[in-house]
Amino acid sequence: MGNLVSTVFDRLWGVDKELRILILGLDGAGKTTILYRLKIGEVIETKPTIGFHVETLSYKNLKLNVWDLGGQTSIRPYWRCYYANTAAVIFVVDSTDKDRMNIASKELHLMLQEEELQDSALLVFANKQDQPGALSASEVSKELNLAELKDRSWSIVASSAIKGEGITEGLDWLIDVVKEEQM
């Protein structure tokens, strides 16, 4: 039965259709760790990303094309070069980094104003929940002024990429939303 449903989906989507997802956020938020958590299910040792990583992964019978862009100040201006055809944006926030919450908020809202991202869904990971002193998801949501967002499907999920908590939950939500919107 499940098989039948998935073939129906495949036909509707077109078998080759891939979903383009961007992972953005300030430097050191844990973007690369999340990407490889999704790709190989393990925590790898990372270095600051100069540029980007791109991985194709299958998730619930879908092909996801996930782009993890570097978060350093010098690289942020280049984010916009990768906005085209993006189905969803995953914004990762270091929940312990209270000092830079306002910067993260500014970058987030700036990004969402872009024409090319008007139709993409937004998932925010309040990451590093395993660390002491981490803000909770609702606190982060407040800091980032997520309530202001209109005409957009968004969600915030508390996560720990190191422990693997919250990542699948967040992605499940994202895929559901995207499927719904794009059907």
Binding site: E18, T49, I50, G51, V54, G70, C81, N85
Partner: protein, 945 residues
């Protein structure tokens, strides 16, 4: 494969290029698709690369867009697509500034990619790295350096090599890995069908590793020697022939710096000469040739026989390399390669013209009086078959020949005239023939009249203005002193009637010079007649020249004060030093309006009399003949006149800094000297000393890599001697205060010089990389200003060294510094400093004529070669070597050096004939000095060594 059978690739421009904008749009669209089509993208990038390789560029904005769309292709795992993406990134990094965005993706491939894309990724990686990001790639590169895969290893070695200038500190840490890679014989990991036909590896990574290792260690001589010991020799792990060649070159470089190390490397050289790789053997021959007399003669003979064997190989490149090398040896010691003559003769008609030309010039060197005639006959046939570049090379060889074998001048003259008169040949060719003839006339006086007559015939029918003007000038210069000047006048006047105005005006000048012939009033009269007729010429310039010439002739006749000036105008007895003149004039012009109030002072430019000019010319020719002209031989002599003259001796004997001692270098030195002289003259302390009589050349007194580089110049004044020491501080973090040179007079001059200096002008402060001069002045005690004072000054530098404050780059304010001393070589004021080279055409006769004579005998116990002694003597006596006596063959045991010069103080002539005999006990020298002044002869002969 011969070049004849090589199928020419189709002209890349014949097919039309794809449209730039279409490609650009297609790239943007296709690369941003999801999912991408790898095959289509590969094709698109190929077209894009084609455009770029044809010089198309994209404006910054488009280049950025292209780069980002290409970077999106990283999402596809296809290796072939990834490879071409890397090629594209390398091409784009020149025009797009956003290239660093690819860094992480590339690094990931270097780490985890397949063997196919790894090398490409490494090569692309170093293009995107800079000094700050190189650090993060350090571990990746180190891992690739020790990779078992030869392609990965090679790529990382070559990439590190290119990264070195960008991120030196990072690459310096690769030394161990690189060292390991040199000795490692890596195999490609694909044993399959093909490996039966192709070697599994060329071991090329060894060559790359050696190249990088050398870059890392080339400042450390001991490390280099250790490197050679480790990787050369019997048990050498080096399999790659390029790596072996590199090893030979390394040894080459080391032994040139330190000739004492030759015995240590000799077994290696002998071994290399027998190498089964031709390239290695050739390189070893090259090294042996460069060392020449420093290696045992049997080793040298071994190298020659290896070359001899190569002369008859079917491979053109090998033949060419061998004959080029033989040509080089022939410049120095033709007697050693006479054994190759049979092989060489069979190469004269080689179908490759590069080879045949080199062969002929080599044969011309090895030729003796006996076979030169027949050789020239061969060449006469041959020269019409080659193109002009080669003709010029051959003419140059003949030119050198004419200086070496003055007695063969008739044959040579005939050959040159035939070449000149033949209807073939370009302007450059004719010009070089005329130059050869001019040399012949100038330096081989016996051929003068004959050559001039032939030239007269030639100008009757010459199509090149430039050549004609030169010949007319030559006739005017040399004609009046011949037996029958009127003959030339007729020929020159014919030009006035028949040719265009450029030639006519040259002819007028030439004619006017004949008017100064003293003993033939008839001739003078007819020349005046001719000039009066020319005054009606339709061309202004010609008329003007005729009028002024007539005026001059008139005033010469009247025999008053003006006559000398007029005479000087018609036949100038001295010329200015063109290089100094040019620099002084441009300096004058750059000073601006105010300076133009006072006219340019031409007296500050050095003047040369005719003898001196000739001496300088001859000296330059001699030096040119021994010049190291690697460049011109690489460019197979196209257009360059001295393709044949890539001999080694002069270059090889001197140290590295003068290795390419071209005349350009000499001009630079001269300019530097005149700059230093100007600095000195502008100081008011020296104004009271009167006019400077002479300044020596710049003498290096330390090694060029010393902490403080000191160069000395000796200035002679009427009553004083000023020593100028130019000091450069090469230390990076130390400033020197109150720098002064302490000169100790050793007392050779016995009371002719005050042994306490008159004053010292110290340098206040010398910051890193700065150079300034310190002066020490001495007073002569002698009343006689034309007496020669010979002295040796032993020197040391006294200064306070102060550490620099890194923030201001100035010394710390409260630093008192500490007093330090630094000793450097002594400066020797030799008789040569009082002499200038001067040319005499007949040495033996002039030697007879001079009245005063002084003989002295020396014995040198040190084991110098004759050549070393000769070089020293030429410098210490300051004369011009004549009749090619400045060189000696290596196995000769005796030699006579003939020098000619004039005193700079009073222009007294001096000729030196120095006989030397080499015995087992040393070298015995007997110097005969003749002069028209007794003290000069004595001073010279007593102070030669």
């Amino acid at each position: 494969m011969s070049t004849h059978t090589y199928k020419k690739a189709e002209d890349p421009h014949s097919g039309s290029l794809p449209d730039k904008m279409t490609i650009y749009q297609d790239c943007l669209n296709r690369f941003n698709e999801s999912p991408v089509n790898p095959k289509l993208c590969r094709t698109l990038i190929t077209s894009l690369l084609e455009l770029i390789s044809h010089g198309e560029t994209f404006p910054a904005q488009e280049a950025t867009a292209l780069f980002f769309s290409i970077s999106k292709l990283f999402q596809h795992p296809n290796d072939s697509l990834r490879q071409i993406v890397y090629v594209a990134i390398k091409e784009l990094c020149g025009i797009s500034e956003d290239i660093l965005m690819a860094t992480s993706s590339i690094m990931k491939d270097v780490q985890n990619g397949s063997d196919l894309v790894k090398p490409n990724a490494i090569r692309a990686l170093i293009r995107v790295l800079d000094e700050s990001t190189a650090f993060s790639a350090e571990r990746l590169l180190k891992n690739s350096l020790v990779s078992k895969h030869p392609s990965v290893c090679s790529a990382s070695l070559v990439s590190s090599y290119h990264l070195l200038p960008i991120a030196e500190t990072t690459v310096k840490r690769f030394a161990n890995e690189t060292q390991e890679a040199v000795g490692d014989l890596k195999q490609l990991p694909y044993p399959d069908e093909n490996s039966r036909y192709y070697p599994t590896t060329s071991h090329i990574s060894q060559y790359h590793a050696l190249g990088l290792l050398y870059q890392l260690k080339n400042h450390d001589k001991m490390a280099l020697i250790k490197l050679i010991q480790q990787f050369a020799g019997q048990s050498s792990p080096l399999k790659n022939q390029l790596a072996q060649v590199q090893m030979v070159k390394l040894v080459h470089q080391l032994v040139l710096k330190d000739t004492n190390s030759i015995p240590q490397f000799l077994p290696l050289i002998v071994n290399w000469l027998q190498s089964r790789h031709e390239a290695v053997a050739l390189e070893a021959c090259k090294l042996t040739a460069a060392l020449s007399n420093l290696v045992p003669s049997e080793v040298f003979a071994g190298a020659v026989s290896v070359l001899q064997g190569f002369l008859s190989t079917p491979r053109v490149t090998t033949r060419f390399a061998a004959v080029r090398l033989l040509n080089k040896i022939s410049m120095v010691s033709p007697e050693k390669i006479v054994v190759c003559n049979p092989e060489l003769e069979s190469l004269v008609n080689d179908s490759n013209r590069n080879i045949s030309t080199y062969t002929i010039t080599t044969l011309l060197k090895t030729g003796t009086n006996k076979n030169i005639g027949s050789l020239i006959k061969t060449i006469t046939k041959f020269i019409y078959e080659v193109n002009d570049d080669f003709k010029i090379i051959i003419i140059d060889a003949i030119k050198t020949l004419s200086l070496n074998f003055p007695e063969e001048n008739e044959t040579i003259l005939r050959f040159l005239m035939e070449s000149l008169q033949s209807s073939e040949g370009s302007l450059q060719f004719k010009n070089s023939v005329v130059e050869a003839l001019m040399d012949l006339i100038q330096f081989v006086p016996q051929s003068k009249e004959k050559a001039l007559e032939e030239l007269c015939d030639f100008i009757e029918d010459c199509e090149y203005n430039e050549v004609l003007v030169r010949i007319l000038h030559l006739l005017g210069k040399e004609g009046p002193t011949t037996k029958n000047p009127s003959l030339y006048v007729r020929h020159i006047y014919n030009r006035v009637i028949l040719e265009n105005s450029i030639i006519r005006s040259a002819a007028v000048l030439s004619l006017s010079k004949f008017a100064l012939v003293k003993n033939d009033p008839e001739l003078v009269k007819s020349i005046e007649q001719l000039l009066i007729q020319i005054k009606t010429d339709p061309d202004d310039e010609v008329r003007d020249r005729a009028s002024i010439a007539l005026q001059f002739i008139e005033s010469v006749k009247s025999n008053n004060e003006v006559s000398n000036i007029a005479q000087n105008f018609i036949r100038p007895t001295s010329t200015y030093d063109v290089v100094t003149m040019e620099s002084k004039l441009s300096q004058y012009l750059s000073q601006g309006q105010e300076a133009f109030q006072t006219p340019f002072d031409v007296s500050s430019v050095t003047k040369y009399s005719e003898d001196e000019k000739k001496a300088l010319d001859l000296k330059r020719r001699q030096e040119q003949a021994f010049q190291h002209t690697e460049e011109s031989s690489n460019g197979n002599g196209s257009g360059s006149g001295n393709g044949n003259e890539n001999g080694g001796r002069k270059g090889d004997r001197l140290d590295d800094s003068t290795f390419n001692g071209t005349s350009l270098q000499e001009e630079k030195d001269d300019l530097l000297l005149s700059k230093h002289i100007d600095e000195m003259s502008s100081l008011e302390q020296f104004q009271s000393f009167g006019k400077r009589i002479h300044s020596s050349k710049i003498v290096p007194l330390t090694e060029i890599e010393a902490e403080f580089v000191v160069k000395g110049i000796k200035h002679l004044f009427d009553e004083h001697i000023v020593l100028q020491f130019h000091i450069t501080n090469t230390l990076k973090d130390i400033a020197l205060d109150n720098v002064e040179v302490v000169c100790q007079v050793e007392g050779l001059s016995e009371g002719l010089l005050d042994d306490q200096e008159e004053f010292v002008l110290p340098i206040e402060r010398l910051l890193p990389d700065e150079g300034e001069s310190c002066y020490v002045a001495f007073k002569k005690l002698t009343q006689n200003s034309d007496e020669i004072v010979v002295e040796r000054f032993s020197n040391s530098l006294k200064f306070q060294s102060k550490e620099l404050d890194p923030s201001t780059s100035l010394p710390f304010e409260d630093d008192e510094g500490f007093q330090d001393e630094y000793e450097f070589d002594s400066l020797f004021l030799s008789p040569g400093d009082y002499m200038k080279p001067s040319f005499v055409s007949n040495f033996a006769a002039t030697l007879e004529e001079l009245p005063y004579e002084s003989v002295s005998v020396y014995n040198i116990v040190e084991t110098n070669t004759l050549q070393e002694v000769i070089d020293k003597l030429i410098i210490s006596a300051g004369g011009l070597p004549l009749e090619n006596s400045q060189t000696v063959s290596h196995d000769a045991t005796q030699h006579t050096l003939k020098l000619s010069g004039k005193s700079i103080l009073d222009n007294a002539k001096a000729l030196l004939s120095i006989k030397m005999i080499k015995t087992s006990k040393g070298i015995a020298i007997k110097a005969l000095v003749k002069s028209d002044k007794d003290t000069l002869a004595d001073d010279l002969s007593n102070n030669l060594i």
